[in-house]
Amino acid sequence: MKPAPFAYAKARSVAHAIELLANDDARLLAGGQSLIATLNMRLSEPALLVDINAIGGLDRVTLKNAHVEIGALVRYAQAERSTEIARAAPLIALALPHIGHPAIRNRGTVGGSLAFADPAAELPACVVALDGEIEIVGPQGQLTVKADDFFKRLFETALTPRDVLTAVRVPAAGTDTRVGFAEFARRHGDYAMVGLAACARADGKRLSNLRLVYFGVGATPVRARRAEPALADGDVEAAVKALADDLEPTDDVQASGAVKTHLAGVLLRRVTQQLARAPS
């Protein structure tokens, strides 16, 4: 199908984008890899698209104060080539090749993925696992929101329709950082049926600060809070058992809730092996 009519404006700066968003029923356009598909299907009919692709400075990856900052307009393909991300955000580097297909990764942006907040998307779970922060600029000024507080409900985040997500920041990996990532998808590049992003610190034989974050199992990224302490102590069996209490996946077109819980356990075993190794 073809989109319903809309007006279009190119934002010159973040401030200009916010000014344009004051119009009724305006929507930001980043990579367009979700938005234009929904417009084509007429699932959404905004009156104005505010294109942020030409805003300078939002497409950088920078290392500062022991953090990696990824600008909202950094495209997946660019992130895949980034040596900073490979070195300092290895969890994100592991997740990127699983997102869509090469042509989708050539356009789709890191900011768009977080703002869209698809419950089966890889990056929201990674950013929660990394205990990251999200930078938002709106009519009231600038705001930093912890990833834990950013993803609210299904496709709902801390962003209001007047805000621009400008960057995401995650702590830079150190020598004791351990990460793991795995997902099940029907075909390569499809959204995951179930996926797991994990991050921890190696602490002797134990793991500390362990975060196990599942995607595709709920309305938002879901932390497996009971499995975490079990796995941190090295008890994989207890951790897998605890998933039954941690996760309440509902049936969807891809799989039943029971199958998803089973797959979550399989992923946990795979990720446990990755967490035992220092990232290469």
Binding site: P3, A7, Y8, L29, G32, A37, N53, H188
Partner: protein, 162 residues
């Protein structure tokens, strides 16, 4: 500024095209309807099939998930332009030799996407070829012959096998 119709200038296959476009017109519809380049096809119109693949500023994108108005000032290359430059002549020959196309609907997208992988150099594994082409659907061939053709060209270009 915030209007529905916009004047754009796009370099399509090396030649400037000036047109007034409705903001809602996708890049692939613009190429087919306004520039009369029908080598880029329209399948699903929501990013899944890859039939609409074109290059914008050197990278392969979905022509159905980009708006023509966004391409003002950009360089767009379609299968017609890329074929004319002989950049993929060997790949086209390999597709014919191995029956890697039947109806041909997917072929322009397949060729552009495969060329993006081949341009990186080296000889990708069959698995890497399949992964790279995972976003391009073919309803006829069963993919085997397509992977064969891409692999053969990679080997030939690397000088390892003919």
């Amino acid at each position: 500024m915030s209007e529905r119709f916009h004047d754009i200038a796009v370099i399509v296959n090396g030649e400037e095209v000036r047109e007034r476009v409705d903001a809602r017109k996708t890049l692939v519809d613009f190429l087919r309807e306004d520039v009369a380049l029908t080598g880029s096809h329209v399948g699903c119109e929501h990013g899944v099939c890859g039939a609409c693949s074109v290059r914008v500023d050197g990278v392969v994108v979905r022509g159905c998930l980009m708006l023509a108005v966004q391409c003002d000032g950009a360089r767009v290359d379609t299968i017609e332009g890329v074929a004319d430059t002989d950049e993929i002549a060997d790949l086209q020959r390999a597709f014919i030799a191995r029956n890697a196309l039947q109806c041909g609907y997917c072929t322009p997208g397949m060729l552009l996407t495969a060329q993006e992988l081949l341009a990186r150099g080296g000889v990708p594994s069959r698995e890497q070829i399949r992964t790279h082409l995972s976003g391009n659907y073919c309803r006829c061939t069963g993919y085997q012959a397509i992977v064969d053709a891409v692999e053969a060209v990679a080997q030939a270009r690397a000088g390892t096998k003919q």
